[in-house]
């Protein structure tokens, strides 16, 4: 009896863990099916007819959806690049800072994460109108930076706390100039952390809704264009959702590859 319990309890926990994994991943399976389903009338569990119309909207030039994908990509890339330039020295300093200074800097960096992006966007619009930055890519990148930069710094900092300074110092003693030290010592040492920080920074910008709506409502961005399709045309909404999901899947694939 007791041995039965000993074998069934771990088995139950194993199945419960698998069920959790299934609950997290299975909902996504519906997206590719819905994106290809031209007709899917209730109460049928399977679509009646299929087409690639949802994706055709994405590749057709001049549509708002195609423009939105390009704009979102551009803004996310610009934002992440600026965040990297500003975040790199800050992450190094944060990793080397004493506890008190580290706490103050972390709290200051994390403050925007506690406030609605829409509130931040509405407030920034007040000044961006005067500076001519509303409805511009530069304005959107600046607004996204408020949320991307903290993530990049806070994720990148632990990468510098594992003896990178010592390695760099050893390379300097051996005569390596700063550019070679960066390329051959520091960058490879922090590469996994850097990749995670940049991917998450990209994702944060890519999925911004509130700031994009407030600051750049005139510029089509992927989340803004996607929302109206949800009720109006689920096939296009699902196709746009799949595009919206691509960076997340890339991030997951990179994580799994790194852990192997």
């Amino acid at each position: 009896m007791s041995s039965d319990l000993a074998t069934t309890a771990p088995a139950r926990r194993r199945w419960a863990a698998r069920l959790l994994g299934l609950l997290a991943a299975a909902p996504l399976v519906v997206l590719p099916v819905r994106a290809l389903a031209e007709t899917w009338r209730a109460p049928s569990l399977l679509p009646q007819t299929f087409s690639t119309r949802g994706f055709a909207v994405l590749v057709a030039s001049g549509t708002r959806a195609a423009e939105a994908v390009t704009n979102s990509l551009l803004v996310a890339l610009v934002t992440v690049l600026v965040a990297l330039v500003l975040g790199w020295p800050a992450a190094r300093s944060l990793a080397a800072a004493p506890r008190g200074r580290r706490l103050v800097a972390t709290v200051l960096l994390a403050l925007p994460l506690l406030v609605s992006p829409f509130a931040t966007g509405v407030g920034l619009t007040e000044w961006f109108i005067r500076l001519g930055l509303t409805d511009t890519i530069a304005g959107l990148a600046l607004a996204h930076l408020v949320y991307v930069l903290p993530y990049v710094v806070l994720l990148l900092a632990p990468g510098f706390s594992h003896g990178v300074d010592d390695l760099e110092e050893a390379a300097a003693v051996l005569g390596a100039p700063p550019a070679r030290r960066l390329a051959l010592v520091v960058a490879p040492a922090v590469a996994p952390t850097l990749a995670a920080a940049l991917l998450l920074g990209f994702l944060v910008s890519w999925s911004q809704y509130g700031t994009s709506l407030a600051v750049g409502a005139g510029i089509p961005m992927l989340p803004l264009v996607l929302l109206p399709f949800i009720g109006r045309d689920p096939q296009v909404a699902a196709a746009l959702s799949l595009v919206f999901l691509v960076p997340a899947l890339a991030a997951l694939a990179a994580t799994v590859r790194r852990e192997r």
């Binding site: 959790l20 994994g21 519906v30 020295p89 080397a96 800072a97 809704y209 949800i230 997340a248």
Partner: protein, 269 residues
């Protein structure tokens, strides 16, 4: 080193402080000076009076507070349970963490496709016994946040519920501690700080977010963010001022909750 340290930090901290502080000041200015004009013009606080006296705003505040409390507490409790199940299963952990990377808007789209009227669950069961999307109680919103935030909090909990905690729990078990005692005296002290800090981030997000309520939430009551969005869509300048006032109330509540929570775990940071 000290000077370089501060200078290095300032490169990132200053832009965030200037942009974020400027945003709060900008929202405050809009709420107090609806009409365009000089930066320091005549102050008109009528938007604040309108918002604070509006029954729809009070409904939105109560509804948003309830959604935040339910979503955050349920996410935290379920995350501890999920971490207990997944702590020795890295492969399932990787799959379970997938929703962390999925944008909130996309999670709301999935909820509409699965749980909406005529959705997949509705078709599979013949008829869904309860309304979960656009329901007045906001359970659809809560479900979307659970899908997103339970994995997020689970990852944070697992970051400190590692081999060291396991070893201490095993030592406690050898000394006769039961499961509840091990959870209370060994595991809880280790996971308390990341769980609380993560919960603050979750609560702040739920309190201020509006893409999820826009897709799966009821038309009434609104959340604070959708109340503000509706106000910005009115043609008058007063609408912008009212939206800014409502959003500043939400920001104040979020920051206040964060200060209280931080004070609670200050020594463990």
């Amino acid at each position: 080193m000290n000077r370089d340290g501060w200078r290095g930090l300032a490169v990132a901290v200053m832009p965030v402080v200037v942009l974020f502080g400027g945003a709060l000041l900008g929202a405050l200015r809009t709420s107090l000076q609806p009409a365009p004009g000089p930066v320091f013009g005549a102050v008109d606080a009528s938007a604040w009076g309108d918002v604070l006296g509006d029954p729809a705003f009070r409904d939105a505040l109560v509804f948003t507070g309830r959604l935040t409390l339910v979503s955050t507490v349920l996410s935290a409790v379920l995350a501890v349970g999920a971490a207990a199940l997944l702590r020795r299963r890295p492969a399932v952990q990787a799959v379970f963490s997938l929703p962390v990377l999925v944008p909130h808007l996309l999670a709301a789209v999935l909820a509409a496709l699965w749980l909406g009227a005529g959705g997949l669950v509705d078709r599979a069961l013949g008829e869904l016994p309860v309304v979960l999307v656009r329901d007045r109680a906001g359970w659809g919103i809560v479900l979307v946040y659970l899908f997103k935030e339970v994995p997020f909090l689970t990852l944070l909990v697992l970051s400190t519920w590692g081999p060291a905690t396991e070893d201490r729990a095993e030592a406690a078990a050898t000394l006769g501690a039961g499961r509840a005692a091990r959870l209370r005296f060994v595991v809880w002290p280790a996971i308390r700080a990341p769980l609380l800090l993560g919960s603050v981030i979750v609560a702040a997000y739920v309190f201020g977010s509006f893409e999820v309520p826009l897709v799966v939430g009821p038309s009434h009551p609104p959340t604070l963010a959708t109340y503000a969005l509706d106000a910005t869509r009115t043609a008058s300048l007063v609408g912008q001022a009212r939206a800014s006032a409502a959003l500043l109330v939400a920001a104040g509540v979020s920051l206040g909750v964060a200060v209280v929570a931080l004070a609670g775990v200050r020594r463990e940071l």
